[in-house]
Symmetry: C2
Subunit: 328 residues, 2 copies
């Protein structure tokens, strides 16, 4: 698709590419190597006014998966941990859960029995944790939880478990007049609770899965109530659909780490002109986790094969990144 | 809701309010009167750094209905006229339509029989006209139609049937660092086909009703196919829902003209701090059309009562606007 709109936006005086806020050399946490070189080459290409790959600023759209691409997703998705904690906290108000699957297993601490319930059990917990609140109340609940919850392995706040090299990349792209979006299978309201303060990504640039909302009046004031029903699943083929529905332009750069990002990278890559499609490959079992084809969380299998055949950029976390998480 | 994010955005040096591109005095097509005064007062209030109503730039979100607010919606919605014309053009490829309601009535020119089919007949025609194409193909079809179609009363292109005072208002708000959105019951892909060139509103700032899309491969290339199924209806209570789902911030200014905009204005108005909620009242039967409580298209009834009780601003088109449409 070539939505070559953006009329009225003057091209930026962006030759040569700018390094990003305060950095003399861009991407300081990235080792010199093919991944860093591919990023720098792409940005130089699309920002060189008069060059063959030049892209007007309004069309410099970059989309980032969140879990496993911007922050850690092991041992389990952060949002699922939030849902588990929230269901436990709500249990006193729900005595019926003590005899109702899968809540009974969860509350009894029997995670094996809970896990036997599979995806259906997970969805039941997520629905219970994410509905019955107004959008305002939910935002508060997520922020309260993020302030106190700690990662089970590192003991750090989840919002510390973000990848320093990717923060630099976001910054570098924005310094070169890209508009950076999150396009995640996670819930849009959950991600918005921290995306601006942690990633510098404002709420209107977060695309995610959505539950249904209901507009209603409470004491003469309108609220939006979160319902336990799915409106849209922003994963796999849902990612290009979400991008089209909300942005209405095809991105020129896409960043992911799993098979759930495959269609988003395909959609981005298939546009005309300069493109960057990049996968973060989790290869560092010491500083983070090493996983790909056999992982339950963030499986990377078909997309890894396609990266090699199509010529997408693959980041080898162990080799390409000088640091994974910013120091405390 | 007070999503007071927008960290990292510096407040603009926007005291006093700026007049808009190239205009010595803002809103030259508006007569002096309460509506123009309310707009100027609101903008001065939210842009005065250090003042009691100051709003950071990132939170200056303004939402505009489209049909009847930015362009004419009489004698029928432009998008419905597009659907009628498209069904007629497609008829040779659909011989089955000759014996299928409501297409048979439409193709026989029997608009009375067609109208008897009510909303269901309209939706059938819209679904037929808006599906079976990729998003790229649909964009091309809308643009081709807009180039040649003419308004039945004025003989002008539909994209000339936009309100000059509202174009000035969009411009004035943007000059004061507002982000201007369309929030329409019309189809998002239809509106995007002209919103950038006509209103200066880029595709990612158009929110509208959506059909379902399907990601699929065609000759090894990904496409997004428009399906004849509804994903989301962005009208009435759907407007604040769409705003929350896509923007994730509550607007501080909302502009509409019908009961379908009522909840959007309520949602905007109920936020804390300075607010502007404005209805365009179609009172000028000579220069445009005069209609409100009894109109099938763009009915304005409950929202007009609420405007008076709540203190919303009502534009009297006949009295408040020096011109309605820009001259040819």
């Amino acid at each position: 698709m070539a939505l070559s709109l953006g009329l009225g936006c003057s091209p930026g005086p962006s030759t040569p590419p700018r390094g990003g806020a305060g950095s003399a050399s861009p991407l300081p946490s990235w080792n010199e190597g093919p991944a860093r070189a591919a990023i720098l080459r792409f940005v130089a290409n699309v920002t060189t006014l008069g060059g063959p790959g030049y892209v007007p600023r309004a069309e410099r759209i970059a989309v980032f998966d969140n879990d496993g691409t911007l922050w850690a997703e092991q041992p389990t998705y952060v949002q699922f941990q939030f849902a588990l904690d929230r269901v436990k906290a709500l249990a006193p108000q729900h005595p019926e859960w003590l005899s109702k699957e899968p809540f009974n297993h969860l509350l009894a601490g029997d995670m094996k029995a809970f896990a036997a319930g599979g995806e259906r059990a997970m969805l039941a917990v997520v629905a219970a944790a994410h509905s019955g609140l107004t959008t305002d109340e939910f935002m508060g609940a997520v922020r309260d939880w993020l302030r106190t919850a700690r990662h089970p392995k590192t003991g750090r706040p989840y919002t510390d478990m973000v990848y320093a090299p990717m923060l630099e990349l976001l910054d570098y792209l924005r310094a070169n007049d890209f508009k950076t979006y999150i396009v995640s299978g996670g819930g849009v309201e959950f991600i918005r609770a921290f995306a601006d303060s942690v990633y510098g990504i404002p709420p209107e640039q977060v695309i995610g899965s959505q539950g249904k909302l209901r507009f209603e009046m409470r004491d003469g004031k309108p609220v939006l109530l979160k319902l336990p029903e799915v409106q849209f699943v922003d994963d796999g083929p849902g990612k290009p659909v979400g991008i089209q529905a909300i942005i209405g332009r095809r991105p020129i750069a896409a960043f992911g780490n799993s098979d759930g990002d495959r269609e988003m990278l395909e959609w981005t890559w298939a546009g005309t002109g300069a493109r960057l499609a990049l996968l973060v490959h989790h290869t560092d079992g010491e500083r983070e986790w090493a996983y790909d084809r056999d992982s339950q969380v963030g499986r990377l299998d078909k997309a890894l094969d396609e990266a090699r055949s199509a010529g997408w950029t693959v980041v080898d976390m162990k080799a390409d990144w000088k640091q994974v998480f910013a120091p405390r």
